[in-house]
């Protein structure tokens, strides 16, 4: 057992297993190399696919000559768009009202619209033969003018990405109740500034991978895919191929990281399934890193303008924001929903701001489609509001912590409906911020900053108080915003006659640790130790319908399903035990593998109860057979985890280099199931959040090619993280748990950028855009110096 020291959550053990820092049950297997990922799976008569991808960002395809490739050694087939007439474009499954549907073509036929779009698929007996032959496919292109930037794409007479659309608008979204102008007139101050949330290129350790095999004997199609939502992939594939869904099996085995991009439906998924049906042999494809940068969906990419009005006491009275969101060349699965609903609804963060309006315009460009990526719209929202609150504090000459406090929604106001349209379920924002400031020694940091400034050093302290709605959620709400998914999660829990437990969960672990946390949740209900509980996920033939893992929903929704199903089994076990011990169920106590009669010496083991249940012997017929329960847990609403992060940076005035010296994260995800794994989630999220703030980007060149080796944060580029939790249980589920997986990616960017601006504000640097590369910071310092009256 690995008890975490210094983590407040560890001391709040609410059950026997929930709240304990149990080391991951799955790690021994994974660390010893016994993991089984899609690329590890080699089937009999295995074939391999390789894609010919466009090197151009916008071009007409004049001809595709596949003759040389088709006759190359080892090649089985070469497919182009001409072979795909029966397949439509890849359909998005979140379409906000009014969205213009331009799904990704499975293979480009007449026009390519971004670098990396697939034009042909070569299938051969080895991966090497497929790659060699792909080089022989000759595609003649006629270049078309390009547009990469969303703001430029909105100008009159801009290049059009889709020639049959009147402009480049993919979708528009408005929220709020208006009234900014009037409120601003009455306010003491109002001002405008702009923000860029740069495009990010997600990288999992394991790239995307598919191995599809059609069995002509059973008529069954099996698709192994590194995927976050196996049941949704099955539904999408069945619809795209018009294949009977009950004969389609999706298996998502061990998956090396998802982060959002692995939940989306991709052309390659359809193409491999199509090819195996056509060829009768299994076909496999594993993405290369180069493909990863151009074919897997990107994240973020907003250009925002903010108007804000406040009074001298620090109270923000109104906010208005406009954003142009670059969605790439096509709408990916959630492409119209993430930049609109997921940003605008959460743009007021943790604050009670009465007047609000926001417009988001989704814009097509000649770039890789943009979709959900860790945080999925909430990092953009948090960055927008947290930069804004900090800006208000600086313009008013107030402490940024104090301005936050004056605007927080208060606990007694919960549940609180914001004019942006979201309802916050719970949160003690002041308490969380106070703990974060204490942990960071805020007063000490301010003193250190003043002293450093006197010595000619530039220190800055940044704060971010964020919230993020997690756990999607109620089906009614999803329907309202055009999101074609359920909000429930499934769990089938079965106690075997030997007393061991199998859980089949519709949720999916791709590194988060479900086999451990779900076992802990069930253990508390069943009185069975986690090591005797096995969690199975990712196989649609085994697991009940599920909605998978995204939106930080696994514990709150999937875990609740496990809890509810397990609790029903516990009740059954008590009834059976009562019969076996000739007492009443209310006198049975379940713990440590035993069902004891309260106040008596009698007891039966769980194995004895399970044997009785699965044989029907020794128990009345009306109790029925078995110890197995299935729960489709469907929450009525989402939960709102929140947190307060504090960053300390030093900026080198000469080189512009920003060093992150200290980072404190206090997150409130309600009840913490496993503080060790919670800390892992916070650390991983922070690495990505800090990566966005300081290092990462797509860095397109003039031809629309993203940089091949982007700066990803590594161990030596990050400080030691200091983490803690406040615990405000959510009333929206029986666990009281909220999401945490995306917290660091949401709180990180504003905390770090606010810190950098805090260091430089007195020098006249009032705006900085991510990533804070040394050169960019140096340029901002010089521009400010030129403007400063000497």
């Amino acid at each position: 057992m690995n008890e975490v020291v210094g983590n407040g959550a560890a001391s709040e053990v609410s059950g026997r297993w929930i709240g304990r820092a149990v080391a991951r049950l799955e790690d021994a297997r994974l660390l010893l190399g016994h993991g089984r990922y899609v690329d590890d799976i080699v089937l009999k008569d295995q074939l391999y696919a390789h894609f010919v991808r466009s090197p151009r960002a916008h071009a007409r395809i004049i001809a595709v000559d596949t003759a040389a490739a088709a006759s190359a050694r080892g090649v089985v087939a070469v497919f182009t768009a001409a072979d795909m007439k029966a397949l439509g474009d890849v359909k998005p499954n979140w379409l906000i009202p009014g969205a213009r549907v331009k799904g990704r073509p499975v293979l480009a036929g007449k026009i390519v619209r971004h670098v990396g779009e697939a034009v042909a698929m070569v299938i051969a007996q080895s991966a090497a033969a497929a790659l060699d032959a792909a080089e022989l496919v000759k595609v003649s292109y006629e270049s078309l003018p390009t547009i990469f930037d969303a703001v430029a794409a909105m100008e009159d007479h801009a290049v059009r990405v889709h020639e049959n659309l009147p402009d480049n608008i993919a979708a528009t979204f408005q929220t709020g109740r208006g009234g900014f102008e009037e409120a601003a007139r009455k306010a003491d101050v109002s001002f405008r500034f702009s923000l860029t949330n740069q495009r990010l290129v997600p990288f999992s350790i394991e790239p995307r991978a598919v191995n599809a095999s059609y069995d002509s004997s059973s008529g069954q199609l099996t698709v192994h895919c590194a995927n976050q939502i196996p049941h949704m992939l099955r539904r999408m594939l069945a619809a795209a191929l018009q294949f009977p869904e009950h004969k389609l099996r999706v298996i998502s085995p061990d998956v090396g990281g998802g982060f959002g991009p692995k939940m989306h439906f991709y052309p390659e998924d359809v193409l491999l399934a199509f090819a195996t049906c056509k060829l009768g042999q299994p076909v496999k494809w594993t993405e290369t890193r180069t493909e990863n940068t151009v074919a897997t969906t990107h994240g973020r990419d907003h250009a925002m303008t903010v108007d804000v009005a406040a009074n001298r006491d620090g109270k923000i009275v109104a906010m208005r924001a406009n954003s142009f969101a670059n969605v790439g060349a096509y709408l990916s699965s959630m492409g119209s929903g993430v930049p609109t609903v997921n940003v605008a609804l959460f743009a007021l963060g943790v604050y009670a701001i009465r007047v609000f309006e926001m417009n988001v315009t989704c814009v097509f460009t000649n770039t890789t489609p943009v979709d959900a990526y860790r945080g999925a719209g909430r990092p953009e929202a948090a960055y927008l509001i947290e930069r804004t609150v900090d800006r208000v504090a600086r313009e008013l000459g107030m402490d940024p912590a104090e301005v936050r406090r004056r605007n927080f929604v208060q606990p007694h106001q919960m549940p609180y409906r914001q004019p942006a349209g979201t309802t916050l379920d719970s949160g003690r924002y002041d308490e969380t911020l106070t703990l974060a400031l204490e942990r960071a020694d805020y007063a000490g940091l301010r003193a250190m900053q003043a002293k450093a400034r006197a010595d000619g050093r530039l220190l800055g302290i940044g704060i971010a108080s964020y919230t993020q709605t997690c756990g999607v959620g109620a089906a009614e709400l999803l329907a309202m915003v055009g999101f074609d998914r359920g909000g429930f999660e499934s769990a089938l829990v079965r106690v075997h006659p030997d007393g061991r437990v199998l859980i089949m969960s519709g949720s999916h672990s791709h590194g988060q640790g479900h086999p451990t946390t779900f076992a802990q949740i069930a253990a508390d209900e069943l009185g069975i130790a986690p090591e005797n509980i096995e969690v199975v996920q990712g196989d649609t033939d085994l697991v009940p319908f599920g909605i998978g893992t995204w939106n930080s929903r696994s514990v709150s929704v999937g875990g609740s399903a496990v809890k509810v199903a397990s609790a029903r089994i516990a009740e059954r076990m008590k009834r059976i035990a009562a019969h076996l011990t000739q007492t009443t169920p209310d006198r049975i106590v379940l713990a440590d593998g035993l069902l004891r009669v309260e106040g008596a010496n009698a007891s039966v083991t769980i194995a004895e109860v399970a044997r009785a249940a699965w044989t029907g012997q020794g128990i009345p017929r009306e109790i029925g057979i078995g110890l197995e329960e299935t729960e489709f847990y469907h929450p009525k609403s989402s939960s709102s985890p929140h947190g307060a992060h504090v960053a300390l940076v030093e900026v080198d005035a000469g080189s512009g280099a920003v060093s992150l010296l200290k980072y404190v994260a206090v997150d409130d995800c309600g009840v913490v199931i496993n503080p060790l794994l919670a800390r892992g989630q916070v650390h991983g999220g922070l690495a990505q959040g800090i990566g966005q703030a300081l290092y990462e980007g797509a860095f397109y060149d003039d031809e629309g090619v993203p940089v091949a080796d982007p700066p990803l944060p590594r161990f030596d580029m990050l400080p030691r993280f200091e983490t803690d939790h406040t615990i405000t249980p959510t009333p929206t589920n029986p666990l009281g748990a909220k999401g945490l997986g995306e917290a660091g990616a949401i709180g990180g960017p504003p905390a770090v950028v606010n810190a950098a601006i805090d260091a430089l504000w007195h020098l006249g640097v009032h705006e900085l855009d991510m990533p804070l590369t040394p050169e960019r910071v140096q340029r901002a310092l010089r521009e400010a110096k030129q403007l400063r009256p000497s």
Partner: protein
């Protein structure tokens, strides 16, 4: 990440290796540590018909350290070189570079001579070896020749090696006992190469004058190179005058070609390099 198919040869002697090179008539590459080559092959940036692996060629792993001279064979691994006691004593620059270049796994496989032949614009080893007056020993089909590193480099990722030639060793010159040296590097956050680095060997007399200097730079410049103008100027400078030093550095870099990328432009790198060179020399002179 699959290379174009190639023939793989593993000769046992240098003569065999030379013959193989001649037979391939230019369509072959030499594999030593593979740190640059394997990536080039996997990304199909290089598509040679033959790869000639030097790992079994006898006598190429030698690391001989004499008085003031080190001779390092083509297959000597970076990690092995710096672990030799006498190397640390006479060639402290090598030890310093080892802690700045790449990571332990790369240094375990990577060779010093291979790093010189790769001529990566942000290369650490090449920068340091330039400051140690490196001389490359080259074996070709028609005989041997020695070429100073300054002439060996023929631009970014290019050398004067002929198609039939193999760099078999490098000889490095130690600094006089009283000299001071340093390697300073600003790292490219994504790829680990330098965006500006300087290797300097300075011999400062008791009066604070510079008796001789060897200064090499990499990262910012299009390829690693010595700064002969600066070296010549330092002897006449009052090193306590920072402004004079700054001017001398600026003058020496004024004719140098710089290159940049999305992370740090050529202009930014040029500036970082100038500051770094100035700081390093001031530090050594102080």
């Amino acid at each position: 990440m699959i290379p174009v198919a190639f023939d793989y040869l593993r000769p046992r002697t240098l003569a065999e290796a030379s013959h193989a090179l001649v037979a391939c008539a230019g369509d072959a590459v030499i594999l030593s540590g593979g740190q640059s080559l394997m990536t080039d092959l996997k990304l199909r940036r290089k598509r040679p018909r033959t790869v000639i692996d030097l790992q079994s060629v006898e006598g190429l792993c030698a690391i001989d350290v004499g008085d003031g001279i080190a001779r390092i064979g083509a297959m000597a691994r970076q990690a092995d070189i710096v672990q030799q006691q006498d190397v640390a004593g006479q060639f402290p620059l090598l030890v310093e570079i080892a802690s700045a270049a790449a990571d332990p796994m790369v240094r375990r496989r990577g060779t010093l001579v291979g790093a010189l032949c790769a001529v990566e614009p942000g290369g650490d080893w090449l920068c340091g070896c330039l400051a140690m007056d490196g001389i490359v020993e080259i074996a070709g089909a028609v005989g041997k020749r020695d070429v100073p590193l300054t002439e060996f480099i023929h631009g970014a990722r290019a050398t004067t090696l002929g198609h039939d030639e193999i760099a078999v060793a490098v000889r490095l010159r130690a600094a006089p006992r009283r000299a001071r040296s340093a390697y300073r590097k600003v790292k490219h956050i994504a790829v680990g190469w330098s965006i500006a680095s300087v290797a300097a060997v300075l011999d400062i007399d008791d009066g604070g004058r510079c008796r001789f200097a060897r200064v090499a730079v990499s990262g910012a410049t299009a390829w690693p190179q010595r700064l002969p103008l600066l070296e010549a100027a330092l002897g006449a400078l009052d090193l306590s005058r920072r402004d004079h030093l700054r001017d001398a550095v600026a003058a020496s870099l004024s004719s140098v070609q710089f290159s940049g990328d999305y992370y740090a432009s050529a202009g930014y790198r040029a500036e970082r390099l100038a500051t770094l060179v100035e700081q390093t020399i001031a530090e050594l002179a102080g």
